[in-house]
């Protein structure tokens, strides 16, 4: 099967190269035959890569340990669930996964894009083929083929890293990959628009769903990554400003900026240059993230094994950046705005400042990530840029962004009048003020947490006000009940009200992040029957009592588990079972260092998080870390709401395509104004 896989890779590579050439030349020379051929090449590349994926999965499931990749990432006793995910657990397999998903997305884009965008499609096919061909070339020429064979056949494989044996890790990488990869489709359309010189709002309509889709995948992928880090790594947090985490945040920030600024182009015909730059930048950042993860240029716990594929990505990044921005610069005269901003106090201006902050945060994250390299180049001194740096720089910016999340929707398009501003801001500001008062009276003194909660309440006030006004208007106009009005409001204007739901999720996330300022933890050595107490920020006293340790064998691991009884103010509320795990292969041989498996009791107000560190002198006297993490459950809840809002925004429907196209190019014009 590996021969079939290798043939699939080579075939896909050749098809990719042909698709790239035929697409670009077919578009420029207006040759329908070449354009058709490029389209078919994308489909065929997809087919060949799917054959390669099937071959690798076959090898994985049949424990063909003669294949180096199979031996490195699986073992006979690895659960099936994780055997499947071993496809993208390693560098080589994930490259194959990336190229395959890209070709699937490319095929879907070509099939689903309406006919009136057909002039763009040859270029789209060309760009998708070129990117896919690059990824395949890394596998073929960068010694990164997942089908390489060993000189001997081991009895059993090494098994999957224990930290990857978690459901979060099965879904987190593909989601993030889907986010990264799907940005290629909007990028391909942007390049197509530049090449074809069709730079009106039409291409934006064609990519609207794709930009939302990649933003949604990135959002879900990032949240799942946070969840995985929290439940699996055992350090009691979910974001460590690791370079690879930062790399996933960068395109998310620029895509978020784009999703806001594109509204200005659709409604007013402004910011064409900016929007194109954002799309190109987002894609380049997704490649940059891949470069960071795979090159080993920056130290990260998430990195794949250091290899020479980093040079491929660096070269590709530089070439793609130069070509894209050269083309962009060449087309700048065609990107003049159709309208001008009329007032500083307008939604357009607030969106621009929102973009400024999003890009500013992206820049500061990028700057912090690369600063160690810069420092070493300039000073010859290695430095570490960790969470203290990122928190100091980014928390104020994040809070300013949260403020703009509330301010933007309150300001009218084009020009806001003073009475309008008063009417719009009164309720949200009052809500924010009250929330501040309540938390101050409750004794909260942490400045950033206080500001986060105050601003969160303000934004929530904005969202509730917008929903209430909309529902009331429908109720008055159509006599609908308020519940029905709310439902129809959402259904008829998914983009606007779905966006508000996303804002609600963001508020919840910010408030939940603020909760970590009140994290409490302690270490203790407990014999069976001994207890330790910890006071939560809400004033409860939690008592953790060790009930003893036990050891047992599971499918692919030997487990040492503790039983810890938890009491809140003297009342038992449950048991926690943190574990130490020694993973073994099919012959019972240890495969990795023993790992910790935290046990978490998630409550609405706070999480109780217990880690079993180990034991003293082989006795039942165990070393624990007990942590109380306030509001963590709300991080996952906020992430779910963000995803739900994103889904509502991109849910199909809401009128015919023609109407949507007309709306996209619609500009608000009053009588007597051009």
């Amino acid at each position: 099967m590996t021969v079939l896989g290798t043939i699939g890779l080579w075939l896909a590579f050749l098809l990719g190269v042909w698709g790239a050439l035929a697409g670009i030349v077919g578009g420029l020379a207006e040759r329908p035959d070449l354009a058709r051929s490029a389209r078919h090449a994308v489909f065929a590349t997809c087919g060949a890569l799917l054959v390669a994926v099937f071959s690798l999965e076959w090898a994985l499931f049949h424990h063909d340990f003669n294949v180096e990749y199979v031996a490195a990432y699986t073992s006979r006793n690895l659960p099936i669930f994780y055997t499947w995910s071993a496809l993208y657990a390693g560098q080589k397999g994930s490259l194959l996964f990336w190229a395959t998903v890209l070709s699937v997305f490319g095929s879907l884009a070509l099939v689903s894009t309406p006919r009136h965008h057909r002039e763009l499609l040859p270029y789209v096919a060309g760009v998708v083929s070129a990117v896919a061909a690059f990824f395949i070339s890394v596998m073929l020429f960068g010694h990164a083929s997942p089908f390489e064979r060993l000189a001997y056949t081991p009895v059993d494989g090494n098994g999957l890293n224990p930290q990857l044996q978690n459901p979060g890790m099965v879904f987190h990488p593909p989601m993030l990959y889907l986010g990264y990869i799907s940005i290629t489709i909007p990028f391909a359309f942007a390049i197509a628009a530049l090449l074809s010189k069709k730079l009106d709002t039409d291409w934006l309509v064609a990519i609207r769903k794709w930009t939302l889709l990649s933003w949604l995948f990135l959002s879900i992928g990032i949240c799942l990554g946070m969840w995985w880090a929290y439940v699996e790594l055992g350090w009691g947090g979910y974001w460590a400003w690791d370079p690879v985490e930062n790399a996933s945040l960068l395109p998310w920030l620029t895509m978020t900026a784009f999703l806001h600024s594109v509204m200005i182009q659709e409604k007013r015909g402004m910011l064409k240059k900016w929007n194109l730059a954002l799309i190109i930048g987002s894609w380049l950042l997704s490649i940059f993230g891949t470069f960071i993860t795979r090159s080993g240029v920056i130290s990260s716990v998430h990195s794949f094994t250091q290899s020479n594929v980093g040079y491929f990505f660096l070269g590709f990044l530089i070439v793609a950046g130069i070509v894209s921005f050269a083309l962009y610069a060449n087309r700048l005269p065609l990107l003049e705005a159709e309208a001008r901003l009329e007032s500083m106090i307008s939604r357009e201006a607030s969106f621009l400042f929102n973009n400024l902050l999003l890009i500013g945060i992206a820049f500061s994250v990028l700057w912090g990530t690369l600063f160690p390299i810069l420092s070493e180049l300039v000073q010859g001194t290695k430095i570490t840029v960790g969470p203290p740096f990122f928190n100091e720089v980014n928390i104020p910016l994040g809070l300013a962004l949260l403020a703009l999340t509330g301010i933007g929707p309150l300001i009218a398009w084009r020009r806001a009048s003073v009475p309008n501003l008063k009417r719009q801001f009164a309720v949200p500001l009052t809500v924010g003020g009250f929330a501040t008062l309540i938390v101050l009276v409750a004794g909260m003194r942490d400045f950033y947490a206080l500001v986060a909660i105050a601003l969160g309440a303000f934004v929530l006030g904005t969202v509730v006000q917008e929903f209430a006004r909309g529902a009331r208007a429908r109720h008055r106009q159509y006599g609908e009940s308020y519940v029905l009005s709310l439902g129809r409001l959402l259904a008829r204007n998914r983009r606007r009200y779905g966006g508000y739901i996303v804002h609600t999720g963001i508020v919840i996330l910010f408030v939940a992040f603020a909760g970590m300022a009140f994290k409490t933890e302690t270490e203790a050595t407990l014999r069976p029957g001994e207890s330790v107490s910890l006071r939560s920020p809400y004033g409860y006293t939690y008592t953790f009592t060790s009930l003893g340790l036990s050891q047992y064998d599971a499918l692919n691991r030997q487990v040492t588990a503790a039983a810890v009884e938890v009491r809140r103010d003297g009342k038992t509320i449950g048991l926690l079972n943190p574990e130490k795990r020694q993973h073994v292969d099919g012959l019972g041989r240890p495969t990795f260092q023993p790992s910790t498996e935290p046990s978490i009791m998630s409550l609405l107000r706070e999480d109780l998080y217990v880690v079993l560190g180990g034991v003293v002198n082989g006795t039942e006297q165990a070393v624990f870390r007990f942590t109380i993490n306030p509001l963590v459950w709300w991080v996952w809840y906020g992430g779910l709401i963000v995803a739900l809002g994103g889904l509502i925004v991109m849910w199909p429907g809401g009128g015919s395509l023609a109407v949507k196209r007309a709306q996209a190019g619609y500009a608000v014009r009053l009588v007597g104004e051009k």
Binding site: G234, W235, A240, V301, R340, L341, E342, M344, A349, F353, L356, S364, W367, F371, S375, V378, Q379, T381, T384, V385, P388, V393, A412, S417, R496, E523, R527, P528, L547, G548, L549, S550, Q551, Y552, A554, L555, Q558, T560, A563, E565, K571, T572, I573, G574, L575, K580, T596, V611, G613, G614, V615, V616, N617, G618, T619, E620, Q621, V623, V671, K674
Partner: protein, 204 residues
């Protein structure tokens, strides 16, 4: 998946059964994490030995007061563990219990603190011994100032430029309108304001 008991001692074995019955009782009779008045303590007899201690990872020393000392923890959160984990010493030593680097660094911090050194002095000592990369964030001096101020400067300058550009656009906007008569009769200012409100309300 069948759990295999590994305890040899009978006293431990009975406790296991007792614990299992407590867990089973809790699971079957109560919703998760609801308070109960049940006392599930097994008593405080002499602790037994594990069947196979090696499965529980590296043997650990008992926790001391210094391990939970807030001042020590605050210092350790500023020191980068050099085991390759990218975490600070405190987080690494309380997370990765296989790591031997962070416990050693922790012992060094405690040793320096016991010598009467203050937090900054301990950090300085670490920098002297291991270089500036030992700090979780670059110290605010010399070239490192760039690290802290470039992002803020970038945003301030970009914000200033954006404000200037927007102002110029806003000022130019009325002159961009044609001077000829309107193609349809314009409304009163009140009507235009109302229309703006309506359009705003209906806008996407």
């Amino acid at each position: 998946m069948k759990a295999v008991r590994r305890y040899a001692g009978t006293t431990v074995g009975s406790r296991r059964e007792f614990l299992a019955s407590v867990v089973a009782g809790l699971v079957t009779t109560l919703p998760p994490y609801r308070a109960t008045a049940q006392d599930s303590l097994p008593g405080t007899g002499p602790s037994g030995r594990l069947w196979d201690p090696s499965r529980a990872g590296r043997p650990l020393p008992p926790v001391t007061a210094a391990d939970n000392d807030a001042a020590i923890q605050a210092i350790e959160k500023q020191i980068h563990c050099t085991c390759g984990c990218n975490l600070d010493v405190y987080t690494c030593r309380t997370t990765d219990f296989t790591c031997t680097v962070s416990p050693a660094m922790h012992r060094r911090v405690v040793e320096l603190a016991e010598q009467g050194r203050t937090g900054p002095q301990i950090l300085d000592q670490f920098v002297r011994e291991r270089g500036v990369a030992i700090l979780m964030a670059p110290p605010k001096r010399g070239f490192n100032w760039l690290g802290y101020f470039v992002p803020s400067a970038f945003i301030l300058i970009a914000g200033a430029v954006l404000t200037l550009v927007l102002r110029r656009w806003a000022r130019a906007a009325p002159t961009a309108s044609p001077s000829g008569p309107p193609s349809a009769p314009a409304g009163t200012p009140d009507e235009l304001e109302r229309l703006r409100h309506e359009l705003d309300r209906l806008s996407v």
